[in-house]
């Protein structure tokens, strides 16, 4: 119920921003949207399926570098290239999952950590990716019109993010999502429902990779430049932090988390060098006080879900 209200609020902000916000605010809202969409993949993987991936930034890299390279070398327009690259990210995610999810779920964290490292160093060492120098992102052209104004980029990025977020939200509430949740809470119960643990989890990883690659491709349009330093283990871990601070049970948590990390530094800018220290200090406090994420403030069911989370304890790591 309140979830629908939240959707109305997000869509209203996204739709009204172009008319009310200045360029700075508009850009930041766009970044919140794409970041939230990237993180929503993790929400599905961690919040629903109970798996940890430290490779979301690698899938973002595959989506964004993939789309730009497809355009540069094969002439595939970016708006087609991004979904194609996202699909590639999904296949890679599926393969990773296929290889290691026959094991206990917590190996996924370790394999994805290593995979993230491999992707980062591969980008730096290949010539085609521009190596350590990086790549400029070309402009999108549609029917001969170049869409490189901040407004056009905003519209594209926010639309793509909305599609991603909404799809993930639907998946969370689908039968597939329910089975993954059941699997997280009790393997035996889920298997007795006819769930194939390995293939379900592998698909969850692939889904999260597609979300990361797709939203990442659109974020590349906003950034206009791909630098390998944007795709490291540190940024991957950062996405996890965004998810937890916002709340890992719904896509609204991803949106709130992304908004915190995009906007709060601006409010704290008077602290100069101490800004990041204060920011992370409060993030720590927030995690301790609101372990279900900021989203739990708004949710009447927050207490209940918190109670449920503590009930099944650490099993879903």
């Amino acid at each position: 119920m309140w979830g629908n209200l939240a959707w109305v609020l997000w869509l209203a902000i996204a739709a009204l921003a172009p008319f009310l916000a200045g360029q700075y605010l508009l850009y930041n809202i766009g970044i919140v949207a794409t970041t939230a969409a990237i993180v929503s993949g993790l929400t599905f993987l961690s919040g629903v399926a109970g798996l940890i991936s430290i490779a979301q930034s690698a899938f973002v890299a595959i989506g964004s570098y993939g789309a730009v390279l497809l355009q540069m070398h094969l002439g595939i327009p970016l708006l087609i290239g991004i979904p194609v690259a996202a699909a590639i990210a999904g296949v890679v995610g599926w393969l990773l999952g296929f290889l290691c999810l026959r094991l206990d779920g917590h190996y996924l964290a370790l394999v994805t950590l290593a995979f993230m490292g491999i992707v980062h160093y591969t980008i730096i060492n290949l010539d085609i990716t521009g190596g350590a120098v990086g790549l400029a992102v070309p402009s999108v052209t549609l029917f001969g019109v170049t869409l490189d104004s901040p407004m056009a980029i905003y519209v594209m990025a926010v639309t793509a993010s909305a599609i991603t977020l909404w799809s993930i939200d639907r998946l969370i509430h689908s039968r597939y999502g329910r089975m993954l949740r059941a699997l997280r809470q009790s393997d035996i119960a889920a298997v007795s429902l006819g769930a194939d643990r390995r293939s379900l989890r592998t698909m969850a990883l692939a889904t999260s990779a597609v979300a990361g690659g797709f939203a990442g491709g659109f974020q590349a349009l906003q950034l206009t430049y791909l630098d390998p330093q944007q795709f490291t283990i540190v940024t991957a871990v950062f996405y996890i932090a965004i998810m937890v601070v916002g709340g890992m049970r719904s896509v609204h948590g991803a949106i709130i988390g992304a908004a915190i990390f995009v906007f709060v530094p601006g409010f704290l800018s008077g602290l100069e060098h101490y800004m990041a220290f204060i920011l992370f200090f409060f993030v720590t406090v927030m995690i301790v006080v609101m372990p279900d994420g900021l989203v739990s403030i708004f949710s009447a069911g927050g207490r209940l879900s918190g109670w449920m989370a503590s009930r099944h304890g650490r099993k879903n790591a």
């Binding site: 961690s46 109970g50 940890i52 290889l99 290691c100 094991l103 206990d104 190996y107 964290a109 370790l110 394999v111 950590l113 290593a114 995979f115 490292g117 491999i118 160093y121 591969t122 730096i124 060492n125 283990i233 540190v234 871990v237 996890i240 932090a241 937890v244 601070v245 890992m248 060098h273 101490y274 800004m275 990041a276 220290f277 920011l279 992370f280 200090f281 993030v283 720590t284 995690i287 301790v288 372990p291 989370a309 503590s310 099944h312 304890g313 650490r314 879903n316 790591a317």
Partner: protein
């Protein structure tokens, strides 16, 4: 090879600290690298601003680092103990970032020189040049491991911690309070972080980002199965040697890719690490 073993012994120290917390509490401590960094900055602070000489400064650094561990356990980990494990893990990320950025603001972003424990002038023995400061790294690592081994093997308290790691409910039944063991694990591991930092920092020069080296420690821990202390030690040294060899035979730029690829292969082919977890759990 020797240089690989030296880098590896640093990875091993980090890996041991990580595995200790992971085994005892289920939490993967992503703030470990930052705790390591903070330990060295405390040393530098004690030396430069409190005027202490090196040995007492080291002592101060290790003790304060242990206190940070205590604070993390009481203020953050205890309230989160019944949450899904991802929550305390993310809390360690946030704690680490707060430590890192707090120190960057207070001590500045520019590098600080850190004194070596022993001389950096090489000796030539039988045609091999040996650098005392490198030996200090290796030596410290070995001594620390031996102390840990002795602690876990021969003291009642160490045995109790191990028991609690292996079987929290069982330990509770025989009267070992779970809170006490997790607290000592956090303190012990945080002190290890400071020691690892003090050993590595003179080599690299100290900046707030020195903690990134902990990523190698994670890799080492994985190589060792992420569940056993001896596994972590061997994993660390093995990683150091793999890096050195791939740096020499493949290419320096590719060596990180090679190490990570080895890592993925190990996890997929030998999921319990290079050492069987069941036997390794003992220590």
């Amino acid at each position: 090879m020797l240089s690989g073993a030296i880098a590896g012994s640093v990875y091993a120290l980090i890996a041991v600290g990580l595995v200790l917390i992971h085994n005892g509490t289920g939490v993967v401590n992503f703030g470990f690298g930052d705790q390591l960094m903070a330990g060295v900055y405390i040393l530098v602070f004690a030396q430069q601003f409190l005027g202490l000489s090196l040995p007492p400064a080291i002592l101060v650094a290790v003790i304060v680092s242990g206190l940070i561990g205590l604070a993390i356990q009481y203020l953050v980990m205890t309230p989160l103990r019944n949450r899904p494990v991802l929550i305390p893990i993310v809390a360690t990320i946030a704690i680490g970032a707060a430590l890192r950025e707090g120190i960057r603001a207070f001590m500045g972003p520019n590098p600080w020189p850190v004194p070596f424990l022993l001389s950096t002038s090489p000796y030539r023995i039988a045609g091999i040049s040996i650098v005392p400061s490198d030996l200090a790294i290796l030596g410290t690592a070995i001594v620390v491991m031996l102390c840990l081994y002795a602690f876990f093997e021969f003291t009642k308290y160490g045995q109790a911690i191990l028991a609690a790691c292996a079987n929290p409910t069982g330990a509770l039944i025989v009267g070992i309070p779970a809170g006490a063991t997790t607290t000592s694990i956090w303190v012990l591991s945080s002190m290890l972080a400071a020691i690892a930092g003090i050993v590595i920092a003179p080599l690299t020069s100290l900046t707030p980002d020195i903690g990134l080296i902990a990523i190698k420690g994670f890799a080492a821990a994985v190589l060792g199965g992420f569940a056993s202390l001896p596994g972590a030690v061997v994993g660390g040294i093995l990683l150091g040697i793999i890096e050195a060899l791939s740096g020499y035979y493949v290419s320096s730029a590719m060596k990180d890719i090679v190490s990570y690829a080895v890592l993925v292969a190990v996890i997929i082919l030998l999921p319990s690490g290079l050492f069987n977890r069941a036997t390794a759990r003992k220590v």
